[in-house]
Amino acid sequence: MKISREDVVRVAELAHLGLTPEEIDSYRAQLDGILTYIDKLNELDLTNVEPMAQVLYTPASPSATDSHPELRDDTLRPCDVGDAVLSRAPDAVKPFFRVPRVIDR
């Protein structure tokens, strides 16, 4: 068994996901099957393989030393979207989003 019921409960807590007891059981079984399949990755010898951190600028590619023309200058630009953004919030009191009590966790 790759993953226990307690693992599922712990992960759900990390992810801030409320789960019913039935969901905990079904996710445990499904995740167990998926993780068992993913064990396939252990068949490969990965010594000397650099993990791929960039899709297009891999360390092996010649463009690694090129500058990144995609990056713009870090200049301030007006960004007057406060009203539009707050108008979509479930509960806002300009200029804040209002949330329930934070302490007492």
Partner: protein, 481 residues
């Protein structure tokens, strides 16, 4: 336009220029078709007649003034509902965003509008683009217009179904692990995944940021090229969009394939491939050879590890990206006595089962003690898969494979077994991980009349090449092989 002949970008243009129809009338014709078919297909979640009419009126005014029309003038289009549209509800097929109306347009949407397109509405998909059958939508599945008891594929199932059913001339989809190519294959139309970074993702609701791409569906390859021409190119609002020049895709698409070296990786033709699909793809390759392509056998030895790597990387990124749905800034909020309780209840109620499953898997893979064993390992395997592609492209110009190992399946047939559903992504996730462009183009049908798709990959930023091969197959009668 006679019944049965689909509208194309070129025929729309010709009809507008010769004043056979106005953009407004054309939009009305499409809304009429949607009205008739959508209750059955469920391809559209939201229609945007106000915006469509305003766009159409601008085109009609340009026609009246005798102006040169922009490239997509009056073309009725559909937009996948994970792509932001100003003033038009964008749900991601999730209860979490049921009432969310974006304050801005995605760059791809903005470019289409500037090019004259008319937006009919937003299309159904798997929730947050997670799925391969469109059965994970919070608003019900889409039916495949070719065979109504079958799924249209996913996650961009609504966009594919809309175009295949004649409810849009072209559509935008998104592809993370196959979500444009596989529904294209299932619905019998071309679907193009551009290179990672070719099309700006500003305004695309993120699923897996190192894999997500926006791309077109159309009824023919030339139209897919025309849409790509409009949406491709650098955008300063997306630093992952590449500053690579955009070629003339429409012209490149028509180039002869004479002398092109096409690689056929034997790893894509092994166990698990439906024999009828195998036959069709072999016939497609034979047809390409007849057109002057040179067939080169290939080996891509890490293909078999792609699903395992993909489902770690994609879910890890998803668990992080979807952390933003917490009931604070937009979307659903379920009240709770404390902040944590509110988060938990909001996410419990707002997300559907597949999204929760992926958040759980991704959170697990990133959690303390498992990061090296899963995420880092998967990223190393991703490097090997990318190397398989780089090595292959030293020998060939393009790689040709089946798009899906199985034909479109029945609704409900695979819904209970998530792993079986994941395994069906085997031929598409490889190219997703490598970041290369890929297209699915119709390549005959099974005895039951179900569409088969042939997939073409090419090196980074060689969309021209995948379009060229796909167009050659299409022109030579590939869909009737």
């Amino acid at each position: 336009m006679s019944a049965g002949t689909p509208w194309t970008i070129a025929s729309v243009r010709a009809a507008l220029q010769t004043k056979k129809i106005s953009a407004r009338e054309l939009a009305a014709e499409f809304f009429g078709r949607i009205d008739k078919r959508n209750s059955e297909l469920n391809a559209y979640l939201t229609l945007s007649p106000e915006r469509a009419n305003a766009q159409a009126d601008r085109i009609d005014a340009a026609v009246a003034r005798g102006e040169t029309l922009p490239p997509l003038a009056g073309v009725p289009m559909a937009i996948k509902d994970v792509i932001s549209t100003r003033g038009v509800r964008t749900t991601c097929a999730s209860k979490m965003l049921e009432d969310y109306v974006p304050p801005y347009d995605a760059t791809a949407v903005d470019r289409l509008e500037r090019a004259g397109a008319v937006f009919l509405g937003k299309t159904n998909c798997d929730e947050f683009a997670m799925g391969g059958s469109n059965e994970n939508s919070a608003y019900g599945p889409v039916r495949n217009p070719v065979a109504l008891d079958r799924v249209p594929g996913g996650s961009s199932g609504g966009s594919a179904a809309a175009v295949a059913a004649g409810l849009a001339v072209a559509a935008l989809g998104t592809d993370t692990g196959g979500s444009i190519r596989q529904p294209g294959s299932f619905c019998g139309i071309p679907g193009l995944m551009p290179t990672y970074g070719r099309v700006s993702r500003y305004g695309l609701v993120a699923f897996a940021s190192s894999l997500d791409k926006i791309g077109p569906f159309a009824t023919n390859v030339s139209d897919a090229a025309a849409v790509l021409s409009v949406i491709a190119g650098h955008d300063e609002n997306d630093s992952t969009s590449a500053a690579v020049p955009v070629p003339d895709y429409i012209g490149e698409t028509e180039k002869s394939v004479q002398g092109l070296r096409i690689g056929v990786p034997e790893d894509y033709f092994g166990a698990g491939l439906d024999p009828e699909i195998k036959d069709k793809i072999q016939s497609g390759i034979a047809l390409l050879e007849k057109l002057g392509c040179r067939r080169v056998p290939l080996q891509m030895p890490h293909t078999d590890y792609a699903i395992a790597a993909y489902y770690i990387i994609a879910t890890a990124e998803a668990s992080s990206n979807l952390a933003r749905y917490d009931g604070v800034r937009y979307g659903l909020r379920v009240p709770g006595a404390t902040l944590t309780e509110m988060y938990r209840q909001t996410r419990e109620r707002g997300f559907g089962p597949e999204v929760k499953r992926r958040i759980m898997l991704g959170t697990y893979a990133l959690s303390a003690g498992y990061y090296d064993a899963y995420y880092l390992r998967a990223q190393s395997v991703r490097a090997l898969i990318a190397r398989d592609f780089a090595d292959a492209f030293k020998k060939v110009d393009a790689i040709v494979t089946p798009t899906s190992p199985i034909p479109p399946f029945r609704l409900g047939e695979k819904a209970l077994d998530p792993l079986q559903m994941y395994l069906a992504d085997i031929y598409t996730v490889t190219g997703s991980l490598a970041g290369v462009p890929g297209i699915s183009v119709p390549c005959g049908t099974t005895k039951e009349g179900l569409p088969v798709g042939l997939q073409v990959f090419a090196p980074h930023f060689k969309e021209s090449c995948v379009l060229q091969v796909a167009r050659a197959l299409e022109k030579a009668g590939g869909s009737a092989i």
